[in-house]
């Protein structure tokens, strides 16, 4: 296989699985800013080692292992305590059980739930999730305390989660 074909195949696989990979790194990284850097490093390493990837095996499982290793290195360098290996293994098992249709249904439900949010909450979510600013800076921009913004986001996420659960339950009944 030529390098160009390798690249096409790699990008196709990455496109299919990057959300899962990103989600896993979010689960084990110290925070979301770090998850982005870790995803960057993981993807690069996967590309470097793509010749070693065994076709027919799970691309995302392979990526998770590399991402896990990168995360452990980061935590070690920062002298942070990572989740135990055993806990991460258990999370991997639980995640593997979640099927793709469920994930897609959840994202569809999220879209509908966002529409139902009050405008002010929706604007806060936009601001918090689409910029690189830390919450403290988001808070300063909207004239609130960081603690207040954390609380609001927590409340909004909880509301979104409940809405998603209700939507999925309704779809299952239909």
């Amino acid at each position: 296989m030529s390098r160009a074909e390798d690249r096409e195949e790699f990008l196709a696989l990455l496109s299919e699985h990057e959300a899962q990979l990103s989600g896993f790194l979010c689960a084990i990284a110290p925070n979301y800013q770090d998850a982005e850097d870790l995803l960057q490093q993981t993807v690069l390493t996967m590309w470097q080692k793509f010749a070693e990837f065994e076709r027919g095996t799970s691309f995302v499982a392979w990526g998770r292992q590399i991402g896990r290793y990168k995360t452990m290195n980061l935590m070690k360098a920062r002298r942070l305590t990572p989740l135990d290996d055993a806990v991460i293994d258990l999370l991997l098992v639980a995640e593997a059980k979640q099927d793709r249709d469920h994930r897609l249904a959840r994202r569809r439900a999220l879209a509908g739930c966002l529409e139902k949010l009050p405008a002010r909450d929706r604007q806060l979510v936009e601001r918090a999730y689409s910029s690189e600013q830390p919450i403290k800076d988001v808070a300063a921009a909207v004239g609130r305390s960081a603690g207040g913004v954390y609380n609001s986001l927590g409340r909004i996420r909880q509301a979104l989660l409940q809405c998603i659960q209700a939507t999925l339950a309704k779809e299952e009944r239909a």
Binding site: E18, S22, C26, Q41, Y129, A140, Q165
Partner: protein
């Protein structure tokens, strides 16, 4: 999806997502995740919500950088993104998100829109450039066509690639490691203390403050433990071969997926690694490349006594920092350098930072002063206040023992401002005790400045003050920074020329 989150679970998961877990909560999280499959599923579901909202934004940026790294042209990048994106859209507006996610309904690989307009709107408020290295030397370099070319003093962002067909390139990483790359070679700057060598030959020297400097390769990974070493990557894919040689100190060679406990190599030793084996071996050409490393004795004659980043610790509500040798101030009642006018900042839990105790009452000119783990914000500038004094965000370090001290690997990055009409520079300055200001550097529109400073002979209990000021006005003055306080070992004093050469030389 499993049963709803309890309030405690929600609080715990939210803290984990936001990087705000304390040690006790971390232990609780570990326990509940270990003990219950249902909790694990709920945790993953909760994280999936974050990931869907946030990860897609980040994933989109990662993809852009990755495609640039592997040399895919922008036009094709765009086509490719439209063709392949699964999650695809970024979530700048709920409306855009709705469109995007609905577009995926039943057809996962279909084209989806990006919400770049929304992101552009956010960029209007500034962003971090993520600069992590600088080019020190470019010698007879022939660059790979289509890739970025560099000249001396160019700044390098995380994820940027240096691809050269021939010549010598010297790069200094933000944390202090200096790398010499010999073409043909392909190096990607990963972060302030790590790089990926995809092809070619590299020599590196890592001072004590850059211990842990890491070079990832398609085979083994190399981690510095205070040393000078060289790495050569030849071949590709299954035929890749990696040679590592050590000329001073010690490195650790890690196999794929190995976090620690790798093979240790001492000065004079080397290995050749292939897909199948890691064997003793040498690489004379790589070893010779270490002769191209800069002759800077200050990279080897000091020990680290203070690290601004890792020394930072949260305090007790309303109290000044007493957790370590670090102290935080603002010059509320006088000029920077006049310690009689310094007022100590206090911990504010909700904002996760040190800030003035009287922020809500009298001192409006210092109300924006902040110190948090990554950086902070100065107060008002002299052009904004009646007493014409710049208010600084000041970090103090109490010297633990007598000796000759320096500041090393100092850097400051200001949030990248898009509003040039409101753009002002930041300044960074240093003094010891009530002595004169020893250094003042300005962070201009490059948004990045590096600094080093000799401090001379200090006694235990002396305080080093490093302040970041608004330089006139405090518009767009959020900053991130770091520096190390080091004590010289040998030779003491004069042999070092701390302000000559290196990352800070021409700033």
């Amino acid at each position: 999806m499993n049963k709803r989150l309890s309030t405690d679970e929600h609080r715990l998961f939210d803290a984990a997502c936001s990087g705000q877990l304390d040690a006790d909560s971390h232990a609780v999280l570990q326990r509940v995740l270990r003990d219950s499959e249902e909790v694990r599923v709920r945790y993953l579901d909760y994280l999936a919500l974050h990931s869907d909202l946030f990860g897609a934004v980040r994933a989109a940026r990662v993809r852009e950088r990755f495609l640039a790294t592997i040399g895919v042209a922008p036009q094709r990048t765009s086509e490719r993104r439209r063709r392949y994106r699964v999650v695809g859209a970024v979530l700048a507006t709920a409306a855009a998100l709705t469109l995007v996610l609905n577009a995926q309904r039943g057809a996962e690989d279909k084209t989806v829109a990006t919400a770049s307009q929304g992101l552009a709107a956010q960029e209007g408020e500034g962003s971090w450039r993520g600069l992590i290295a600088r080019v020190n030397r470019v010698e007879a370099v022939e660059w790979q066509p289509g890739c970025r070319t560099f000249v001396e003093s160019d700044l390098i962002a995380a994820g940027e690639a240096m691809v050269l067909r021939a010549g010598i390139l010297e790069v200094e990483f933000r944390q202090g490691a200096v790398v010499v790359l010999e073409g043909p070679a392909h190096l990607v700057a990963d972060d302030a203390n790590a790089a990926s060598l995809l092809q070619g030959r590299l020599a590196a020297v890592a001072p004590p403050w850059a211990t842990g400097f890491r070079v990832d390769t398609p085979g083994v990974d190399v981690v510095d433990h205070g040393t000078e070493f060289a790495v050569n990557v030849s071949g590709a894919g299954a035929d890749a071969r990696v040679n590592v040689v050590v000329t001073e100190g010690e490195v650790e060679v890690l196999a794929d997926q190995q976090v620690d406990g790798g093979r240790r190599l001492l000065a004079g030793e080397g290995v050749n690694a292939t897909e199948d084996a890691v064997e003793d071996g040498d690489d004379a050409a790589a070893r010779k490349l270490t002769e191209q490393l800069p002759d800077r004795p200050e990279l080897k004659n000091a020990v680290v006594v203070g690290d601004r980043w890792s020394g930072w610790a949260p305090g007790s509500e309303g109290q000044p920092c007493r957790e370590s040798a670090w102290r935080y101030f603002t010059n509320r009642d006088g000029e920077f350098g006049d310690v009689q006018g310094y007022k100590e900042l206090v911990w504010h839990e909700a904002d996760n930072c040190y800030r003035p105790a009287d922020r809500e009452t009298s001192s409006w000119f210092s109300q924006h002063v902040r110190v948090h783990r990554d950086g902070g914000h100065p107060g008002r500038g002299r052009d904004q206040v009646w007493d014409k004094i710049d208010r600084y965000s000041i970090t103090g370090f109490v010297v633990p023992e007598d000796g000759v001290y320096r500041i090393e690997a100092g850097w400051l990055e200001r949030m990248w401002a898009k509003r040039w009409d409101r753009d002002e520079m930041l300044d960074i300055a240093v003094h010891v005790n009530d002595g004169p200001v020893l250094m003042r550097e300005f962070c201009n529109r490059d948004s990045f400045v590096a600094f080093r400073q000799a401090l001379g002979e200090l006694s235990a209990g002396d305080t080093i003050y490093v302040g970041v000021g608004p330089n006139g006005a405090d518009f767009n003055d959020k900053f991130r920074w770091g520096f190390y306080v080091v004590r010289e070992t040998s030779p003491p004093g004069g042999a070092t020329a701390p302000n000559e050469g290196g990352l800070a030389a021409t700033d």
